[in-house]
């Protein structure tokens, strides 16, 4: 932690650490082995109100800022766990909070706050369109009081463990809009209601335990009342939530970085080779020291971005930089930790290889590092758009 926290923020971090201490490495290792979902852990977080941190108090949440929410995510990853199983609940519901109608907010937010409903999935990516979101092929046609949806999504994470899903669809064909960012809309899908009625979910086995799926949509009917925000303005609503997501993901990377440092230094202190601890060798020390410095630097950018976000200031560059720096720092720490452990780093019982795989994801998702660099080049450096 490279930033002074106030007493309540420290309490939040400590209390989440407390919850996490009941879910040790063995718990996550076992889940990883069988690609299981951390149901008990999510229940404990939900009961403590941790996943409702960003929901306004009037709807039964805590109405805290993104800084506090990021401390929650950080503590989970620093404990050896993985916040990916629940982080989306935080920033997806933010779209509903900001863009939903009063009626939608009143209908869903209180139940999301208590955990009776889970909103953990956002269907955006498609097999042929990743970062180039405006080209997505899933279309929704309005018929009477409903939208009829056809298309396919991929890497829709946690959809099997969610009651509700946001779905980004094209409601106006791309040829009929002035700008390609127009004509996209967000629909709220009640997955329980939709089951067997034009939606098919297929789990996708991946390198990490991420509960991600393919979603096939074939004539799925979604009530028009479940349109979030204005029709055709879904892309803007999507962008709204991105800064929050970047900051939360940066915090997860910081948590991972701390875990790798703790693990590596503990091992380096205790492992004796040629008559002295390996941590006494500069070949071991320097990569760890460098990683520590980079984690702390990224941490400062996370706090800067979070402060600006909570103050209602535009913070796109800061949020993106925080995510970029933190993802790079956690990956650097992962490498240094694995190298410090030597062969034992590859043994599952040490958890290093699991966390190594998990933190690698942040170079790719939820946004590729390259796309952040392109963003910084364009928006901060004023260079011509490259994509």
């Amino acid at each position: 932690m490279s930033y002074p926290l106030d007493e309540e923020q420290l309490q939040i971090r400590d209390a989440v650490q407390d919850v996490c201490s009941d879910f040790p490495s063995e718990y996550w290792r076992k889940l990883d082995e069988f690609q299981g979902y951390p149901t008990e852990f999510i229940r404990a977080l939900t009961e403590g109100g941790w996943l409702a941190a960003l929901i306004p108090e009037q709807y039964g949440g805590s109405g805290l800022g993104i800084l506090e929410a990021s401390l929650i995510m950080e503590a989970i990853n620093a404990s050896g766990g993985n916040a990916a199983a629940c982080h989306a609940q935080m920033y997806i519901m933010d779209v509903l909070t900001r863009r939903g109608t009063d009626r939608q907010r009143e209908r869903f937010l209180p139940e999301l706050a208590t955990g009776r409903l889970r909103l953990q999935a956002f269907g955006v990516t498609e097999p042929t369109t990743g970062s180039d979101t405006t080209q997505l092929q899933t279309r929704a046609e309005k018929r009477g009081d409903s939208y009829i949806v056809h298309g396919q999504k991929v890497f829709t994470s946690r959809v099997e463990h969610s009651d509700l899903m946001l779905l980004l669809v094209r409601t106006t064909p791309i040829d009929d809009v002035r700008r390609k960012t127009h004509g996209l809309s967000i629909l709220l899908v009640d997955l329980v209601e939709a089951d067997g009625k034009g939606i098919e979910i297929r789990p996708l086995r991946t390198m990490i335990n991420h509960h991600t799926c393919e979603v096939f949509l074939d004539g799925l009917e979604v009530p028009a009342a479940n349109l979030i925000g204005e029709e055709g303005e879904g892309f803007r609503a999507l962008l709204d939530g991105l800064n929050a997501e970047r900051i939360l993901i940066a915090a997860e990377c910081i948590g991972d970085g701390d875990w790798f440092m703790h693990k590596a230094c503990g091992y380096a202190r205790g492992r004796v080779v040629f008559g002295r601890p390996i941590g006494q060798n500069q070949g071991i020390q320097f990569p760890l020291a460098k990683a520590r410095a980079h984690i702390d630097a990224a941490d400062l950018m996370r706090f800067r971005a979070a402060e600006m976000y909570d103050a209602g200031q535009p913070c796109g560059p800061q949020a993106n930089m925080a995510k970029l720096l933190a993802a790079d720092a956690s990956w650097e720490a992962a490498n240094a930790c694995l190298q410090t452990h030597g062969g034992f780093g590859f043994a599952s019982d040490y958890d290093v290889e699991r966390k190594f795989r998990e933190t690698r994801l942040y170079q790719v998702a939820p946004i590729s590092t390259n796309l952040i660099l392109s963003y910084i080049a364009e928006k901060v450096l004023g260079l011509p758009r490259s994509y």
Binding site: D14, A15, D18, E47, G48, G49, L64
Partner: protein
């Protein structure tokens, strides 16, 4: 029922400890702190008794300014108010001095039950509770596994050696030291943390309570355990060797 629960802030269990310059305590710079684990069970028991029988739970500590965060944690978990006898002198104090500070504050208020953890994770005297009971002139019982407060008296189950238990009855008010692991400790919730901000928090200086400088016990030397390795060959018949090995595992290594 007015329940006082005594909590202590100690260095976190995973801290890397080293002796300070004077060799009387561990360096606490850069170390994180937490509620003494045995006290978390006492707090949980107090909260459960309150939920069953009504009343109030007051968390109390004697410690430096930083100990306030441990009291805030108790408030976030459900204690109704907190009392902090604040002083740096309580960092290295002995059980008597701590008990004296706690007694001076508790004595000022009506109390039906005082709970402490069995011992602290740092000094591990296991004496604060019993000395506190003497200072408050309360009946007390230690290593409590169960409390039944449904009648006018307290019916408690104590843990004895070798798997034996004892059931005793005490009048109220009384003091009990709670065995670790007797309940499942609750987590602080986010709403609990927010509510804790508005709960009463009383600070006392030792002077306000009329407590003089404590001089009872002094740590002369504190050091890291020295690590050594030795190999011993057990000799005799297989049966004799097995018996000797069993003896060593049970009484020297204490792993059986």
């Amino acid at each position: 029922m007015n329940i006082f629960v005594c909590v202590k802030q100690v260095m976190a269990r995973d801290s890397v400890l080293r002796p300070n310059e004077t060799g009387t305590w561990a360096v606490d710079d850069g170390v994180s702190f937490e509620m003494n684990e045995p006290d978390t069970f006492a707090l949980e028991e107090a909260l459960r008794l309150k939920e069953r029988h009504g009343g109030e739970v007051v968390a109390i500590t004697a410690g430096p300014a930083r100990s306030a965060s441990t009291l805030r944690e108790a408030l976030a978990k459900g204690a109704d108010r907190a009392i902090h006898v604040e002083g740096n002198r309580y960092v290295e104090s002995d059980a008597y001095a701590t008990a004296q500070a706690l007694a001076a504050a508790i004595r000022r208020e009506p109390h039906d039950l005082v709970l402490t953890g069995l011992q602290s994770d740092d000094a591990g005297f296991g004496q604060t509770g019993v000395i506190l009971a003497e200072l408050l002139e309360l009946p007390h019982a230690t290593i409590i596994m169960e409390i039944d407060a449904s009648g006018g008296q307290l019916r408690c189950k104590r843990e004895l050696e070798a798997g034996w238990f004892q059931t005793i009855t005490l009048p109220r008010p009384a003091l009990l030291t709670i065995q670790s692991g007797i309940n499942k400790v609750r987590y602080a919730t986010l709403m609990g943390i927010k509510r804790a901000r508005r709960k009463p928090f009383r600070r006392y200086s030792p002077d306000e309570l009329g407590i003089g400088e404590p001089v009872h016990q002094r740590v002369r030397s504190l050091y890291q355990p020295r690590q050594s390795k030795q190999t011993e060959f057990l000799e005799g018949s297989s049966q004799e060797v097995a018996a000797k090995l069993l003896n060593k595992l049970r009484f020297e290594a204490r792993v059986l």
